[in-house]
């Protein structure tokens, strides 16, 4: 395991969030250190995306404290989070359908030349960036609306890498990706760790999680349900923490298949 600093770069203490009649998060804690990859796992609707959005400033927390490099901070708007150095890839991507790929990648931090947009430089760099993620996009000048699901996902990931973040949050980044692109993204996560960034990775894929994460945080029904170091924990233990039971659909399915194989 890589060296982990003492003060976490980002820490949540007792965060709660309610939507109308639904208590989406209750008293959640989370810590990310520089150079650490934290996997955040949990059942569907466990509150992972909600937690990510509170960190990214999409919606403010009801209760609890967000600490940045040890100091409590207020994150009320996405600008606040970006100002701190948090880059986020959202599960629902949030791209502007009417803008082209280049426009989306550089949205909010366009390159300028004599005060006007430097389309040439942006286009060139976008091509390079997308090539490193080995995605094939017909042209960087077509609107996002006409891209496939996976192509959009890669654009959203590439977006988070422009700029110079300290913490990168990836909400199910590989959900729509092909095998090759998934491998590239996992490589990318490892490169981010090497550059000593903090990474929060949300995924339902246990193989991906155990491949790149250092620590696994489990959320269940909006509450913390355990923190596991990846080394020395089995997938079964994590899944049991996610589903809240050792007897679940996964184990039953495995058992049935094993029986059928006999």
């Amino acid at each position: 395991m890589v060296y982990v600093s003492a003060t976490p770069v980002l820490a949540l203490r007792g965060v709660s969030k309610r939507f109308g009649a639904v208590q989406a998060l209750t008293d959640v804690d989370l810590e990310v250190h520089a150079g650490e990859v934290v996997a955040l796992v949990g059942d569907n609707g466990a509150g992972k995306s909600t937690l990510v959005k509170t960190i990214a400033g999409v919606h403010p927390v009801d209760d609890g404290v967000i600490e940045w490099e040890g100091r409590p901070v207020h994150v009320n708007r996405p600008q606040d989070a970006q100002g701190l150095g948090i880059a986020t890839v959202y599960q629902d991507l949030a791209l502007c359908d009417n803008l082209d790929v280049v426009g989306n990648l550089y949205l909010g931090r366009e390159l300028l030349r004599f005060g006007s947009l430097d389309e040439v430089a942006m286009e060139q760099r976008s091509r390079d960036l997308l090539n490193t993620l080995s995605i094939r996009i017909p042209s960087v000048r077509i609107p996002i609306a006409s891209l496939s699901g996976g192509q959009r996902q890669v654009v959203a990931i590439a977006r988070a890498l422009i700029g110079d973040p300290k913490v990168v949050i990836l909400d199910e980044p590989t959900a729509a990706l092909g095998v090759e692109q998934t491998a590239q993204v996992l490589d990318l996560v490892e490169r981010l760790r090497e550059r000593r960034l903090g990474v929060i990775l949300i995924s339902h894929n246990m193989a991906d999680v155990t491949a790149v994460a250092d620590t696994v945080h489990v959320l269940r029904l909006g509450r913390n349900n355990g923190v596991f170091p990846v080394k020395g924990t089995t997938n079964e233990q994590i899944i049991a923490a996610i589903t809240g039971a050792t007897d679940n659909a996964v184990t039953r399915r495995l058992a049935r298949n094993a029986e059928a194989a006999k």
Binding site: P60, L221, R223
Partner: protein, 427 residues
């Protein structure tokens, strides 16, 4: 390092997954009346108040006008408000349908003007029977609306442009129809009499208002109780009896007081009765039929609706036809206010006020959100402002300014409460 002490807070007592369980994070409501109160407080804080803010704005407007002129809440003035709001209100109902699709119909005012002149031409110049003429007039409106809908849905011309072209074209047609005489006097009899100022429900009988009120209250109570029983049987969540009673009592108070006040001078104008009937029918269509469900679906997401196998073009055409029909009907109501078809019918701010009514009442301009009752609420606000300012006998230029300011203020109340909702993440 595989010891489990790292698990900080295991959730204990987890139910087996594939079994029907209530989500433990759902803040369930307590039983009985107290639960109703706490739920209301939560909604108040969260800004989920439906049309309550508009009602509050309306009460504020009424209070201010009443302080300025104590005739405002008099029976005679209330009869005026309730009579004059019906005509524009009919246009507004049609617009609610169109707005639910996320579209706009700029032609309603000029179609309403055309309808008046068509009706007048048919009855006065061609001596047609009253009822037949009404049917033909409404069919004209429906046909015009379907025509707009066709160009929008099938050819793909933006609804704004089609109905703008209609707005100009139908005004021209109306002027052409009336080119001989300019204005035509419509006889104060038959159906048009029923839409006029001197026609009241059950011929001004005191009982009329109370019968209507009782009917409404009874319908609500019986409907709610039947629904509750079915839901209880099917084991899905249902409204507690206390809430049903509270709602029924609220409606009863409002409607009996309204009946009492209106009865004090003349009774319930028939125009209002028709307007209310149209509202009830349209509300049923929108909330309780597959057709209404389809309108909401198209307004929410055209692509999702299309993929669900809904004939989007058909929905669009019919909705514009409905809007055209209500515009024609509204035109007859407006003609009934003066028994004349004039060249100026449908001009001025009529269109804007009809749209504003729907929007103030809470129907979204972006589709998929709203209900027909917003036409009623919005018209109450607008007509109250107009009648109130007329009572105060103020300069027209000042009236314009005050109308603008009050309109804005009425919606600010609503928006501020919704802002709470947005900041709590729901909109």
């Amino acid at each position: 390092m595989s010891d489990k002490t790292t698990i900080r807070k295991p959730v204990d007592e987890v139910p087996p997954p594939a079994v029907a369980t209530v989500d433990p994070r759902l803040l369930v409501r307590e039983e009985g009346f107290k639960g109703y109160l706490t739920e209301f407080k939560r909604k108040l804080k969260g800004g989920e108040l439906g049309s309550l803010p508009v009602i509050v704005a309306l009460i504020i407007i009424w209070t201010i006008f009443q302080v300025k002129d104590d005739l405002f809440l008099s029976s005679a003035n209330m009869v005026n408000i309730s009579f004059f709001m019906a005509g524009t209100g009919m246009l507004s109902i049609g617009l609610v349908f169109v707005l639910l699709l996320g579209e706009i119909d700029l032609s309603v005012a000029s179609v309403s003007g055309l309808a008046a002149s068509v009706f007048a031409t048919l009855t006065v110049n061609h001596g047609l029977n009253d009822w037949l003429a009404v049917v033909l007039t409404i069919l004209t409106g429906v046909a015009i609306g379907a025509f707009h809908g066709f160009f929008f849905a099938k050819i793909g011309v933006p609804a704004f442009v089609v109905t703008l072209a209609g707005f100009l074209g139908w005004t021209g047609l109306m002027q052409w129809l009336l080119r001989g005489t300019g204005s035509l006097t419509i006889e104060d009899k038959g159906l048009l009499h029923m839409l006029g100022q001197r026609s009241f429900f059950m011929d001004q009988s005191i009982a009329g208002g109370y019968i209507l009120a009782t009917l409404g209250v009874a319908l609500l109570l019986i409907g709610s109780l039947i629904d509750q029983a079915r839901r209880r049987k099917a084991r899905v969540p249902f409204r507690p009896t206390s809430e049903i009673l509270l709602r029924t009592v609220a409606l009863a108070v409002v409607s009996y007081v309204a009946a009492y006040v209106l009865n004090k001078s003349a009774g319930i104008p028939n125009a209002l009765v028709f307007f209310l009937a149209a509202l009830v029918i349209c509300d049923f269509v929108l909330r309780r039929t597959t057709y209404g469900r389809k309108i909401f679906a198209v307004g929410g997401s055209i692509e999702a609706a299309r993929r669900a196998g809904i004939n989007v073009a058909l929905i669009r055409i019919t909705v514009f036809a409905i809007s055209g029909g209500f515009a024609a009907l509204g035109g007859l109501f407006l003609a009934g206010q003066t028994y004349t078809a004039t060249l100026q019918a449908g001009t001025g701010n009529l269109l804007m006020l009809a749209i504003a009514a729907a929007v103030i009442g809470g129907t979204s301009l972006f589709g998929g959100r709203g209900n027909v009752w917003s036409a009623l609420l919005g018209m109450l606000v607008i007509q109250s402002i107009q009648t109130g300012l007329d009572l105060l006998n103020m300069d027209q230029s000042i009236q314009y300014m005050i109308t603008g300011a009050v309109l804005l203020a009425a919606v600010v109340v609503d928006s501020v409460s919704r802002r709470t909702q947005r900041s709590s993440g729901r909109a």
